[in-house]
């Protein structure tokens, strides 16, 4: 079972897919047709990318008549931005090294 981090990394690792997600973040909800017009790939390819993004929880779809509208779900990125915890670990590690250094320094 891949971790949520793996899924998010793999999903956003594809440049075309990432570009689609970024556009939805930037410009708000759009139809597959509108996304295809500027994606540089075919509509089936865009739909496939959207399916992968949806599976990762990064986009949501909404059906209206014959059109499907997609919108970004930036909250799904939360696991990737848990940086405070990681940064705190980084600084604690560095402070350990700083204390070692202070012990070695003369007054």
């Amino acid at each position: 079972m891949p971790s949520i981090h793996d899924v998010l990394f793999r999903t956003l690792g594809d440049p075309t897919r990432r570009a689609i997600f970024e556009r939805l973040c930037r410009e708000g909800e759009q139809t597959v047709g509108a996304l295809t017009a500027r994606a540089g790939v075919s509509q089936p390819a865009v739909s496939k990318h959207l399916g992968v993004l949806k599976h990762a929880g990064l986009v949501r779809d909404r059906h209206e008549g014959r059109e499907t509208h997609y919108s970004a779900q930036p909250g799904a990125l939360a696991p990737l931005i848990d940086w405070t915890k990681q940064m705190a670990g980084f600084w604690r590690n560095r402070f350990d090294k700083l204390e070692d250094l202070l012990r070695r320094m003369d007054q």
Partner: protein, 141 residues
């Protein structure tokens, strides 16, 4: 109570160290000493000075953090902007004398997570940075 999404994220790490502030200040501001505990650098304690902190390049990261000195109050406060992979934060060290030495406080204030322009570059890039960093730290143990 603020909406969590509207807060500016920050990291605070504090230590009591049994040394005078002057000594810690040297470790925070002399390049050869900074290198020993943090990273290679071309730091100068001059407000407005641009410098880099450098680690070895990583698969998704060139290992460079671009910094700019913001505050220099000798033996009290040192603050610099810390930018990498499109994410700008500010790192501030504060030294306070105690009965037995010095209270050392580091605060790193981050981006506001509700700024959509931070998405593509910053959030994704920042994570890559940490992934690289974790690898480095893991190897250091």
């Amino acid at each position: 109570m603020n909406e969590p999404a509207a807060e500016t994220l920050s990291v605070i790490v504090e230590r009591e160290v049994p040394y005078p502030a002057e000594k810690i200040w040297r470790a925070l501001t002399q390049p050869h000493l900074i290198e020993e505990w943090l990273m290679r650098n071309d730091f100068k304690p001059a407000v407005g000075h641009n410098f880099s902190l450098r680690m070895d390049p990583q698969p998704n990261w060139n290992g460079v953090i671009d910094c700019r000195v913001l505050v220099v109050e000798p033996n009290k406060t040192l603050s610099y902007a810390w930018a990498t992979l499109g994410l700008e934060t500010v790192v501030t060290f504060t030294l306070t004398a105690t009965a037995t030495g010095t209270h050392l406080r580091m605060e790193q204030r981050g981006f506001r997570p509700d700024q959509p322009q931070n998405y593509q570059g910053a959030r994704y890039g920042w994570q890559k940075f940490f992934a690289s960093l974790e690898q480095v730290l893991a190897r250091m143990k």
